[in-house]
């Protein structure tokens, strides 16, 4: 089985984000970057599927600047066979990213192309679905359980109030949801081996796109909490505040 995973380099979710001087991008100085957490489920699933099949190839794709090589090497350290970096400045228009990825994935002979269900930096939920469309392949999003038997893919999706089971045929494109698996840590031997694995650099040029970021703003600072008192005596004041100030009861 040949499996590709498309991986994005994103700021660590525990990093304190500052907005850059242009007001439209984040200030990257001192920010720690990590593989997109949802993509880690895709990475793990690809490795598990290859291990279960006993043969095949796992390839990690990333679109980004040179620093994304480090992100690719994280996947290589986990056990991926090789990496491809499509060198381009990231853009806000997911369709441009999808076109560049699809163009390279098209002739790769992949049975499965996996994505995280979204990237935590832009929350767009776009690229995986668009790549599927561009390649004219079936697409199942937010997969939380997966069985591949022959060319049949059966996936479970958590939907409001229940679980939906869907099926499709390989080759297919899937996006992965939390809970699909527990991503492994790269082993120390894996980290050393990653340096020797092939990592192909391919410059790509993205179109201008049709979506532009106008500005970024931090969420408003939360107002400090208020202690209205202690014990049963405080209840009337609390009820009054919940009703009048907060309007929740």
């Amino acid at each position: 089985m040949r499996i590709a995973v498309c991986l994005k380099r994103v700021p660590d979710t525990t990093t304190k984000i500052l907005i850059g001087a242009d007001g439209k991008s984040i200030d990257e100085s001192g920010v720690k970057f990590v593989p997109n957490p949802y993509d880690e489920y895709a990475l793990e699933e690809a490795l598990k599927l290859k291990e279960a099949a006993g043969s095949g190839e796992t390839v990690v794709y990333c679109l980004g600047g040179d620093a994304a090589q480090e992100t690719i090497r994280t996947a290589l350290a986990m056990g991926f066979d090789r990496g491809v970096l499509l060198q381009a400045a990231p853009t806000a228009d997911g369709f441009e990213v999808a076109k560049a990825l699809a163009a390279d994935l098209k002739d790769g002979g992949f049975d499965l192309i996996l994505f995280g269900k979204l990237a935590v930096d832009d929350y767009n939920h776009q690229v995986g679905v668009m790549v599927a469309e561009l390649l004219e392949r079936p697409c199942i999003t937010a997969v939380s359980h997966l069985v591949v038997a022959g060319t049949a893919v059966t996936a479970e999706r958590e939907i409001e109030g229940g679980i939906e089971t869907v099926t499709a045929s390989l080759p297919a494109v899937l996006s992965c949801e939390k809970g699909l698996n527990t991503p492994r840590l790269p082993s120390l031997k894996g980290i050393m081996a990653a340096k020797k694995k092939p990592l192909e650099l391919k410059p790509v040029s993205l179109g201008a796109g049709s979506v532009t970021v106008l500005g970024l703003a931090l969420p408003p600072e939360r107002k400090p909490g208020q202690i209205v008192g202690e014990g049963p005596d405080a209840v009337p004041a609390l009820v009054r505040l919940l009703r009048e100030d907060a309007g929740v009861i």
């Binding site: 082993s187 120390l188 031997k189 980290i191 050393m192």
Partner: protein, 393 residues
Amino acid sequence: MASYTPPDFYQIEGLLAEEERAVRDTVRAWVEEHLMPVIGSCYVEGRFPRELVPGLADLGVLGANLPEEYGCAGLNNVAYGLIMQELERGDSGIRSFASVQGALVMYPIHAFGSEDQRRHWLPALAAGRVIGCFGLTEPDYGSNPGGMITTARETRDGWVLNGAKMWITNGSQAGVAIVWAKTGDLKDPKSIRGFIVPTDTKGFSARDQKGKLSLRASDTSELVLQDVVLPRDALLPGSGGLKSPLQCLTQARYGIAWGALGAAMACYDEALRYGKQRVMFERPIAQTQIQQVRLADMITEITKAQLLVLQLGRLKDAGTMTPQQVSLAKRNNVDMACDCAREARRLLGANGILAEYHSMRHMANLESVYTYEGTHDMHTLILGEAITGLGAY
């Protein structure tokens, strides 16, 4: 509370290579996920979490700076040091386990062992299938190991060992012990040789030392060797004289200098977060001058210690590190970690005495680290001799 935020006041991150950071981050994530949830109760119960050994071995932590051909990860010494830092950020007992396995059991087999011994033992030790211990210290010979009275008598077929060892980390868990014994006159430390002793050999016994108030999540044992008969090839052929076990201790002390730094970083992180959160007299206690002195002193000493071990590691990787440089780092970093742990505990007020917080556990652990692998005082004398040329032991 929020997750661990390791201090890096001087952007030392930028001095590390990509794979060094990757190694550190992997071990950090493992510690967070597997060790932190259990370490408080292990400590209180006085239990070594042996169930974590397979996970540590799978990651490749054991003997990580030894070559890949023996099943090890083949890391450089800075990456190895960072592993020790992250393990001891969790607990000194767990770092001690890894230090002993890697630096005091696998290292001597690699450095002094025959090729057969290496092939036989190193892959099993790296995989955690066998736990090892290191028997040098004796009840009456701690800082003066050259005075040891454990003997190895050569016979027609091999060796017979007699003696007792004390303060042996992993002793009761171990499947193999590296035992140091005199093969000649008791007055002659040059006759000290190392032996690989499977712990199921007749006449070998290990008993845990009870009542420890420090390193409670690690086993410390007494070893007794009573007419332990060993084959000829139990001898580590390359070992000779007191310098051989001391060479092992240099490896372990190198890891300790990094490890103690990890403990200090954990205490600082805990103290800083607590100080910003804990309100007294209508403001966070971190906004009081006394606590700021504590925190400023801690970050200063931690930053110095970070730069110290990084340069030490670069020297070790370049092959120019001296044992005296290791003494300076062990002495400085453990002492500074003891201070950080104590001050962090004090900043935490009454909460600081609970196992739910980490500083007091580190504080108690570090008293052992201060004392073992060359006491603070002995390293002072080693430095004194190095700079004056005059031994004052």
